[in-house]
Assembly symmetry: C2
Amino acid sequence: MSAVSRTTSHIRNDKLERLVVGRGSSDSSKIQHAMVLESLELSLSHGSNVRSIAEEASQAIGTRSEGYTLLVPADGSSALLSANSTLGLLRGLTTFEQLWYEWSGDTYTLEAPISIADSPAYPYRGFMLDTARNFFPVADIKRTLDAMSWVKMSELHWHVVDSQSFPLEVPGFTELASKGAYSSSMVYTASDVQDIVAYAGARGIDVMVEIDTPGHTAIISASHPEYVACAQASPWADFANEPPAGQLRLASSATTNFTASLLGAVAKMFPSRVMSTGGDELNTNCYMQDAETQAELNATGRTLEQALDVFTRTTHAAIEQEGKTPAVWEEMVLDHNVTLSNETLVLVWISSANAAAVAAKNFRIVHSPSDYFYLDCGAGEWIGDDVANSWCDPFKTWQKSYTFDPLANLTEDQTHLVLGGTFIHASYSCTSAHPLSGQQLLWTEQSSPANLDSIVWPRAASSAEVFWSGPGGNLSTALPRLHDIAFRMRQRGVNAIPLQPLWCHCGLGSVISIRRAACESEILGHAMLLFCLLSCSVLL
Amino acid sequence: MSAVSRTTSHIRNDKLERLVVGRGSSDSSKIQHAMVLESLELSLSHGSNVRSIAEEASQAIGTRSEGYTLLVPADGSSALLSANSTLGLLRGLTTFEQLWYEWSGDTYTLEAPISIADSPAYPYRGFMLDTARNFFPVADIKRTLDAMSWVKMSELHWHVVDSQSFPLEVPGFTELASKGAYSSSMVYTASDVQDIVAYAGARGIDVMVEIDTPGHTAIISASHPEYVACAQASPWADFANEPPAGQLRLASSATTNFTASLLGAVAKMFPSRVMSTGGDELNTNCYMQDAETQAELNATGRTLEQALDVFTRTTHAAIEQEGKTPAVWEEMVLDHNVTLSNETLVLVWISSANAAAVAAKNFRIVHSPSDYFYLDCGAGEWIGDDVANSWCDPFKTWQKSYTFDPLANLTEDQTHLVLGGTFIHASYSCTSAHPLSGQQLLWTEQSSPANLDSIVWPRAASSAEVFWSGPGGNLSTALPRLHDIAFRMRQRGVNAIPLQPLWCHCGLGSVISIRRAACESEILGHAMLLFCLLSCSVLL
């Protein structure tokens, strides 16, 4: 079981000395008298069928089994990890591998006996990556999936294409990438997609792909100019929220059918039960100025909104036919009047306050608010010669994200609508259990492989914790966990930044740290040595 | 000459295709008919003595010879790079190696004939790195020096120690690092320092070390508690601007003599003619509450300001004895009443507006203003559980830095006082010539090797250009140069981020770019092929 071998590798290689004054030196005597844990048993209680981790992770959101119990007795007898699914065992291993510190060659914990009954508060704990503004090689996406799995995230929302480039090779529609990718080397082939999906699945992560329509599609004009209104129109600001302008001719049946076929073909590439059709930032002026759209509307006697409804129903039917539930950005519910299944996932992004309006319409919510979870905010404006700062200033700190309340402004009977969020939700803490959802997002106008890790980690781990453990956590006690996971990430090849000077990671000098009290308070139990690095037994 | 071999290596390996629509495809026919440049001659006109690049780079600020002329005829005859110093030749090579693009195996420029007479507007074009809040291995500092040299920066301001850690091994004072470094592996040995200084010197960069005194010295209490007032005092905010509290007992003659000896020993490690003694953020309350300081003041009949004057004169004398001119932060001039040589460099940091007050006192200025050049701003507060953003919000964009005016608020007869700034000043543009100074700064509470490159590059190149070419540059025409240098940096191993989607780097798809006009306007001359990659002749 590769998850077990990854866990043993992490335990062997993390070598994290406790981030306290003197590191592990004050633990020495405890370590000398500690009991030795020689094995961890894995127990899978299942009903009729056993699914692989990947199969379980791609079940419908809300039906995946992720809970586990972990018992580490203080007397040195075998530890036990139990779950009802392989995915639950994976989550438990992820907790187990983060219990341990290193000192002087010993691997130990101070928390024995350990008894954890854990399951996520929210099923959708996501991270969104935009690979259209700037391209990210497969290796970068895999590294991101690794880090996501360490904080028990469940969903990669892959905003794969946009107006600037079309890096996805779609069977039957290969001209889109061959004409629309930044270069022939900046393409995700069908086999790359399989590779990414399998890699994600093995780590308990479902991949929800997004083909944003009808806006954000200028690049389609490179191969299919007939389907795109106001392509390259100038000044772009009159026709789009960011350059270049260009939107699918939603009133055209030819364009609608093309889009439906394309979405159907993309749907076949991904095992996930959800797929996003986008729907954000539709520019009305673009269609007003487009003679062909106006002619279509006149010919059919439809308003633009009526045409959008036909477009949406047709394209959603195409992915529903492939077994997918659609996801859309909030405008499709709040600004437009289109027919949507109430199963539809609605991504609330403009403001966290808008979740209430979406809930009032009885749609399921994935919290993706720009005022809490946009990792790209606060890095300056990217539109050329503008000295202003970014539209979504300021920078979203980990503290801001950590204080997000998924149920704010919702009534008691609306809480079941919250699936999660796209902030990253780190659960190296192993508390509580009550179900919700959210995700953190990286739009990549100013990101590339050069700063992917540093802009995301460990910041995004704070929302990961919100959506696994539930909101209301204490910032002071969360911070040492963030320091811990950042160290482990760096050991494992992810370039997480320090959130504070090393000195604050509990005071490594002789100077008493501002954080010492918080860290010391974490020591709850007795020392326990781990000697089972390579011999954890698996009982399936 | 290793500078020549670096240039040939860069020309061979950059392989930068022009960042325009279709990349170099539209240049193909021009390339086919281009003349071939087969050699570049280097000509050094000198007087009595020839200095190495490193020797020239460590001359007193304002006396270094950095100018050069570069002629690339259109007829294919030999190109000529002339300078009055080896340092000037280095600057010229740095320009030469950035003239070239790659297409289909050819290395070419579109700007022949080229005639450049270039010299810096300001002699001090700096970058400040803090290695105390978080540690940076030698390799990271060298990589930063590489990038600095590519944008013709002249000064590394090395804020090597601070209250959190003392990573500098000082001969005769090794206890400071052995007790005060984060760990024994997080120390710059004397041999590391030699290595860094030599590496910088070969790249035309002087290293100005800073031992910040009398504040920002809490960590000295780890080895010399007797010299430090209010060490670890709580709450720290009553005694220091950031934790941990602790300042040298400036009224004590023992502490003053210790500090003077330490500064003298550090001065011996660096060939530079300048050295910073700090002097920022002195906390008066710390000394008010310190019984020993109060006793000293009573015994000597001095006020705190008078004691500070003695301390400053004594410590400055120690470094002046080693041939160094002191540099200080602005408070030493604006908030205190100490005796300073008018040769002293004053680092203006609190606000760019304070340059006028420093100039009024007739001190030489290094622009380091937090409102323009602090690279760390806008990334959130690092003090634990505070949800607020950083004290110096917002993020300083490249556009903000680029619009900095070194002479703002100064009178005509004060302009000679401006030495430069610590923003990074990139001069792949090769314009103008009128002398000044400034630097960009990275405080590292939230930085580490994980985000060093991405937080600094290419942003800092914008101030590098301000201080080489002079202020008033056009943002729209600067942006393509920043894209170019960012690409070259990545090719050369520095993880510079994209400032825009790749699409904006002149529109790589078939969609016309918002930046296309700016890029096309750069094509000034004829095509010229370069075949001298390995055979540039050196005539010294």
